[in-house]
């Protein structure tokens, strides 16, 4: 018998014919008709008109026919709720059938019909089925509770089904247990607070027993549920791990991955010194490798997960490089993932093999894959220093192939290699220059231009090369334009005599003929710099660049930890938390790894400085983002947005000798032609002026090197308590030294002399570094201001609160005592910037229970502003990331006693559309101001130097988004510090 014929009927009047057939007396004909109906339904035809006729066929002892009718019902009941009621009787009757298969079928189907009236009738049969003698019925009923909960959660709770379901966890049949676990887990997801699953050592034990006996799918449900359990200590974690490890040999990859998830999560609680920890690590590698011999789709899922595991625990797979070698016939998605993992595993030990492979891949067919392979070679060069030379020569070989996209990709990575190893491989520049003409991708062109600009002094015809790019300036992408502008300015600063014309040309192209605000802004800045102070310009433009870091596109640690909890699931495939792709509240409970148990951590005392603190002078390391060309002024902060039309910007201004005297010194008297004046603001109107001065206020606050926020003086010792001596004061930190600024007022009637001061022992060993010197006697009503330098070498005693300082002041009258609280940020030292790698390692190393979370309310700052504000108080931004539209700043600071505090600051940028921004690019202004601000603004002679503003007023309130709350998480080995660090943050950010 062939059923395919049912798919072919498409003639008109079909419904009518079907109706007749459905009502036929002959059983066979009826069945045929129902099959036709189902076939039409599958194809997407609307056969709901036949509802009553189909339902009439339900009363039958033919199971096949019954199932077909049920299938129809599940599809159409929702659109015909009134008629669906007709089916209820049959369902209820079927639930009493002696055949367990029929009972189960009825309860299974009823749960799929989302019609309220049917749902009401479902409760009684469901209750019976949950206690049915047959396990097949019970396992079906267990899932049905989840179905019912999806339709009407309240009903399930009212009817007490949840308790019955919980009882099923202790059922004698493993499959019933598994389905009950699955149902409960799903219901619990929509009630994150309720303790539905109520996992405790006893119930865990039951689950682990069922795990050995149930089907492969049941094992997955149970393992996924176990992964949500939090063992009470490391011993329990270990015993669960021991019972889960046998699952690693299961033939079903999903069972293996779910077991890996449980192990990876519970491993977090085990001490690394434990023998078992090492055993477990060894046991994890083989099953992960075996996953790679599964079908390609599963390989892909496995590889995405391995990518996470390699980042979390690189030691597991460090010797398994070979299995990630790409096979010629692998599907492209498998190839790309393997390549990614290869780069992560690359080390000095295996680099030769890896490079040979990568070179092989670079000749393959798929363009994406080839590009990634070329990029990988560059990443190896940056990651494994010893291999850099070979990588460069491999890249040169590839450039010789003249395959266009290979050449372009190679140039992009060579630029990064130059950044990492300056003055080492410049000999290859000549080869690169040969390929100038073939570059047609913006990224490659920008990279090449950067190289030419950076090494202009060694390339004889640098000016010609750059000039050739200049011809089509306006057709280039923003990235290239910005780079070209910078490169030509660099060239000019290096070879001023020959390139004057060129630089003028590019400046005028950038400032007058461009609609792009970023480009114009940068053009003006350069112009101003060049015209005002060429020496400063040199310092800014040719400044030493920070090194780029070796590890790129690592997943941010908190996200990584969360994703580890989702091993095997879609989240681990997408590398995104579920909230990013799941609608509504379902399944978006934030998961985190369990903290290390206290027993293993007790050795660490808060006073000991963390091991391996970075040595004093470390070069700054910033993450090498794809487009971050590392130029100090290359601040391409967002997509190009066309700024306000130029017309509005031409505030009428008189001509001013912009490029006056300053330049003469540089170009030796040649007369520099001033640019057309229209676009150059010189005579700023009052509102602009005030706006600007606000801007300068903003910058000067952060720009001064001494930086730290200073609170206004507060009265510490009122006159009443001290026989007329009033002391008010505050603490400051300036260029590495702490001082106590005191104001002594004599409110008594007699002269005060012989002042002296002494501190009680305190938490950070603060002590006066010099005696209190009041030079002249203090006569009545006289006030004197003294700055008392402090040191941190005094004796230490923990105070409560931590920042309490007890002070004794003596004068010729008496001794007075008072106590004050000092803000913690005066203790933040200047070398508190942690190396990025070290940061990552330390962050992972500090147990999670030491993490403290705070909210800083109503803080109107964006990431840049916050970062620079904090930096001036010696809180250093180690890295910045943007996760789901939020800026995350990773910061470090060090206290005078060597304690490090690591911070993660989460900033949700306000909605730009609701603020009155002149252009979305204003933040780059702020940053520019900050960057150039510190030393240089003042060098320009204050008011003499004005920022070009296009007729729009920028007051500070417009410069920053309307903000919300910042979230701060702090990690420190001495957790008691956190609260005070938080207060310091709040003080700094809000002032």
């Amino acid at each position: 018998m062939t059923d395919s014929k049912y798919f072919t009927t498409t003639k008109k009047g079909e419904i009518f014919e079907l109706k007749a057939e459905l009502n036929s007396d002959k059983k066979e004909k009826k069945k045929e008709a129902v099959k036709k109906v189902i076939a039409s339904m599958t194809v997407g035809k609307d056969v709901s008109a036949l509802f009553p006729d189909v339902v009439n066929c339900m009363q039958t002892d033919n199971l096949e026919l019954k199932k077909l009718v049920y299938l129809y019902l599940m599809n159409y009941a929702k659109s015909q709720p009134d008629m669906a009621i007709m089916a209820v009787n049959t369902f209820v009757k079927d639930c009493e059938d002696p055949n367990p298969l029929i009972r189960a079928l009825a309860v299974r189907t009823m749960g799929c019909i989302r019609v309220d009236k049917i749902t009401e009738y479902l409760c009684e049969p469901l209750r019976k089925c949950l206690k049915d003698e047959d396990p097949y019925v019970r396992k079906t009923a267990a899932v049905c509770v989840a179905k019912l909960h999806d339709i009407n959660a309240q009903l399930v709770e009212d009817q007490g089904f949840l308790d019955t379901l919980k009882d099923l966890i202790s059922d004698s049949n493993p499959m019933v247990v598994a389905n009950a676990v699955a149902a409960l887990s799903e219901i619990a997801e929509s009630h994150p607070s309720s303790n539905l699953l109520d996992l405790n050592p006893q119930s865990i034990n039951k689950l682990l027993t069922a795990l050995n006996e149930c089907t492969e799918w049941g094992q997955i449900f149970i393992l996924d549920c176990l992964a949500n359990y939090m063992p009470k200590d490391d011993r329990e974690a270990q015993s669960i791990c021991e019972r889960v490890t046998p699952r690693l040999s299961h033939a079903n990859s999903a069972v293996v991955l779910s077991a890996v998830k449980v192990l990876m999560k519970f491993m977090e609680m085990l001490s690394k010194d434990l023998d078992y920890y090492g055993t477990l690590l060894k046991k994890l590698a083989p099953p992960l490798v075996t996953l790679l011999s599964a079908e390609p789709e599963l390989q892909y899922v496995a590889l995405r997960n391995i990518n996470l595991i390699v980042q979390k625990r690189p030691e597991i797979l460090k010797h398994e490089m070979k299995v990630f070698f790409v096979k010629y016939n692998d599907p492209i998605y498998v190839k790309l993932e393997k390549l990614d993992i290869m780069i992560r595993l690359a080390s000095q030990a295996n680099i030769a093999q890896v490079l040979a492979e990568l070179k092989e891949y670079a000749t393959e067919v798929d363009v994406d894959f080839v590009r990634k392979a070329v990029r990988a070679i560059g990443r190896c060069a940056i990651k494994v220093e010893q291999s850099a030379e070979r990588c460069v020569s491999t890249l040169l070989d590839l450039i010789q192939t003249k395959v266009n996209y290979v050449v372009q990709e190679a140039i992009v990575v060579i630029k990064d290699i130059f950044r990492k190893y300056p003055n080492k491989y410049e000999s290859v520049i000549a080869t690169l220059c040969e390929n100038l003409d073939s570059l047609d991708e913006p990224e490659a062109r920008a990279a090449m231009i950067w190289i030419v600009g950076e090494y202009a002094e060694r390339i004889d015809n640098a000016d010609e090369l750059l000039e050739s790019f200049l011809e089509g300036f306006h057709d280039e992408s923003t990235q290239v334009q910005l780079q070209l502008l910078t490169a030509i300015v660099k060239l000019f600063l290096k070879k001023p005599t020959e390139t004057q014309e060129l630089v003028q040309q590019v400046l005028s192209l950038a400032t007058q003929d461009s609609d792009n605000p970023d480009l114009r802004d940068r053009g003006y800045i350069y112009w101003r710099l060049l015209s005002t102070d060429p020496v400063a310009a040199k310092e800014v433009v040719l400044a030493e660049k920070p090194l780029i870091s070796e590890e790129t596109d690592l997943i941010e640690p908190t996200l990584l930890d969360e994703l580890i909890c989702y091993i095997g699931t879609l989240a681990s495939v997408y590398h995104k938390p579920p909230s990013a792709f799941v609608e509504g509240g379902r399944g978006v409970v934030h998961k985190s790894l369990p903290p290390r148990t206290a027993s293993s951590e007790s050795a660490e005392s808060p006073e000991t400085a963390p091991t391996g603190a970075p040595p004093g002078e470390q070069p700054d390391v910033i993450p090498a983002q794809g487009d971050l060309l590392g130029d100090l002024l290359n601040l391409d902060l967002g997509p190009p947005v066309s700024g306000p039309p130029l017309a509005t910007s031409s505030v009428q201004m008189g001509a001013v000798d912009l490029l006056g005297g300053g330049l003469d010194s540089l170009i030796g008297g040649t007369n520099f032609v001033a640019p057309p004046t229209a676009a150059v603001p010189a005579n700023l109107g009052a509102p602009i002026g005030s706006g600007l001065s606000d801007l300068f206020d903003l910058t000067s606050g952060v720009g001064t090197l001494s930086g730290s926020y200073v609170a206004p003086k507060a009265v510490w010792l009122p006159a009443m308590k001290a026989k007329g001596l009033e002391i008010s004061g505050t603490f400051t930190r300036q260029v590495g030294s702490i001082s106590m600024d005191l104001q002594l007022t004599n409110k008594a009637l007699q002269v005060m002399t012989d002042f002296a001061i002494q501190f009680n022992r305190n938490s950070f060993g603060l002590a006066p570094a010099a005696p209190l010197q009041v030079h002249a006697p203090l006569s009545p009503n006289q006030t004197v201001e003294i700055s008392l330098p402090l040191s941190t070498v005094g004796s230490v005693m923990k105070m409560e609160p931590l920042n309490n300082l007890q002070v004794a002041v003596k004068n010729n009258i008496d001794v007075f005592y008072f106590s004050t609280l000092y803000p913690l940020h005066i203790l933040f030292v200047e070398d508190g910037k942690m190396d990025r790698q070290m940061f990552l390692a330390t962050w992972k190393d500090i147990p999670n229970e030491n993490e403290a979370q705070f909210q800083i309310r109503d803080c109107p700052l964006n990431a840049e502003a916050a970062s620079s504000k904090l930096q001036s108080s010696n809180i250093f931004t180690v890295a910045k990331r943007n996760v789901e539209g939020q800026d995350m700043l990773y910061q470090s600071l060090k206290l005078t006693n060597g304690i490090w505090v690591l911070a993660e600051l989460r900033i949700q940028p306000g909605n730009p559309s609701c603020t009155a921004w002149p252009s979305r690019h204003c933040p780059s202004w702020v940053l520019l101001a900050v960057l150039v601000g510190g030393g240089l603004w003042r060098g320009f002679g204050g008011g003499n130097f004005r920022l070009p503003v296009f007729g729009c007023c920028m007051s500070p309130s417009l410069l920053v988004p309307v903000v919300q709350d910042l979230e701060l998480s702090l990690k420190c080995r001495a957790p008691e510090v956190s609260q005070h660090v938080y207060q310091a943050y709040e003080t700094i950010l809000k002032n």
Binding site: P135, N212, E297, T363
Partner: protein, 436 residues
């Protein structure tokens, strides 16, 4: 969990559509067709997210199976389920083709109803399913039969029913290995591994308890320590033991027992099943060595010479040997000379295919070819894909040997000696490539 399951033909027409969850609508069916099946470029990922709906797909010949969900499901489970679904369908009606699916759509719906409930996979062992999804109705079942079915479907031993009887108790063991190699042109092994399977076909009465033993290094070393008597030592010294990197087992194997004692014990399903899979990387016998020599003579000519050497006992015969030598896309003509077998240039496959029916061990054979090229102005160099090889040899390249398979059935009166046992070893080429 899985929200819906669709099966499409190559044109993107729906053959089967079953929706399990309310959040999946009919538009999901079309979304997949438009975005994946009808997409212009090659599939870039087996998981596609379209408008917050995730689609998992696998392809069997030109049939697409897609599972759809809006939740954060266990992705590995979804793919495992799709494969299982294919296995179950194949067990019921053979090859998965458009015709077979249309012919059996009622059966498929019935299966989908049974093996996936609210998106949760249920028992999907064909052995169990075939007892009650028969397309025959249920008239003949007695009460005992019914409860037997349900206890089997849900029970601990869901893969085997009770009361099986055979006049002759017999079992077949196939050790099937595929040997994978990637070799550099200079003959350096870049990577090599064997992935093997032990497939068992059992025709045994009752509920037999089986124990399987092989020359696993860990087991042999353990035993060597325990019982150091002369005979067993002599026995074992002849057979070499092998180091197994990792193995996985059919769900009938007691994993906890393997974990603690490394013994493989199980009650087998009736009929054919895959007992275990394993992987080895050490001391692999590479049955063939390929030595390529490619010379570019000017811009329009290539000379290729390939030597293959067989590397196993001269008494054994390899079969179905095929060497595939890729040729550039701009090949205009090929002349081939080979010592043995037949060689042909297949323009549609861009390769010279050299076939040899049989070849004994420790022999060598050679092919040489001259390839004429059309002059092109294509700048990109020819990627030189590796030379690949197919073959079949009557031994296990990993060196695995079956030591025993003991059968105990305490309730019925047949003993281990009464069972007739057959063992066969087949080594096949997996991805066996030599770069040139």
């Amino acid at each position: 969990m899985i929200g819906g399951l669709f099966i499409y033909n190559h044109k993107g027409e729906v053959l089967i559509s079953r929706v399990y969850r309310d959040d999946i609508g009919r538009n999901a069916v079309d979304a997949f067709r438009v975005n994946v099946i009808h997409a212009r470029q090659q599939v870039r990922s087996p998981v596609t997210n379209i408008a917050r709906t995730s689609f998992f797909h696998v392809k069997r010949s030109n049939i697409w199976l897609a599972a759809v969900t809006k939740q954060n499901v266990n992705a590995a489970m979804v793919f495992e389920f799709l494969y299982k679904m294919c296995d179950v369908m194949a067990a019921y009606f053979g090859k998965i083709s458009e015709e077979n699916i249309k012919n059996n759509f009622v059966l498929i719906y019935e299966l989908l109803d049974e093996i996936l409930d609210f998106g949760y996979p249920q028992n999907s062992e064909t052995g169990a399913l075939k007892t009650f999804i028969t397309q025959q109705g249920i008239k003949s079942q007695t009460k005992e039969e019914q409860s037997q079915i349900t206890s089997q479907v849900t029970g601990q031993i869901g893969w085997r029913r009770e009361g099986i009887k055979y006049r002759r108790n017999e079992l077949f063991l196939d050790v099937l290995e595929s040997v994978n190699l990637l070799m550099s042109p200079q003959g350096q092994v870049l990577s090599a591994h064997v992935s093997g399977r032990v497939v068992m076909k059992s025709y045994l009465s009752g509920m037999p308890e089986c124990k399987f033993g092989m020359n696993d290094k860990i087991v042999i070393e353990k035993q060597g320590k325990g019982t150091a008597d002369e005979t067993s030592k002599r026995c074992l010294s002849g057979k070499q033991s092998i180091a197994i990197d990792d193995c996985t087992f059919h769900q009938c194997v007691r994993l906890s027992k393997f974990d603690s004692e490394r013994s493989i014990s199980f009650i087998p399903p009736d009929g054919e099943f895959e007992l275990m899979r394993y992987r080895t990387t050490k001391d692999i016998i590479l049955p063939f060595r390929v030595i390529p020599l490619v010379r570019e003579v000017g811009r329009t000519k290539l000379e290729v010479k390939v030597v293959i050497k067989s590397n196993f006992k001269p008494s054994l015969l390899a079969q179905k040997i095929e060497v595939r030598i890729p040729t550039p896309l701009n090949t205009s003509g090929v002349q081939v000379i080979c010592m043995k077998g037949k060689a042909k240039y297949k323009a549609s496959e861009n390769a010279i295919v050299w076939k040899i029916k049989r070849m004994a061990g420790m022999k060598e054979s050679q092919i040489s070819a001259e390839i004429e090229l059309l002059p092109t102005n294509d700048k990109k160099k020819w990627a030189r894909p590796p030379i690949s090889m197919n073959f079949e040899v009557p031994f296990a390249p990993s060196g695995l040997k079956v030591r025993y398979l003991k059968v105990f059935e305490p309730k019925l009166n047949y003993s281990d000696h009464d069972v007739i046992k057959w063992v066969r070893y087949i080594g096949r080429s997996g991805i066996y490539e030599t770069r040139c």
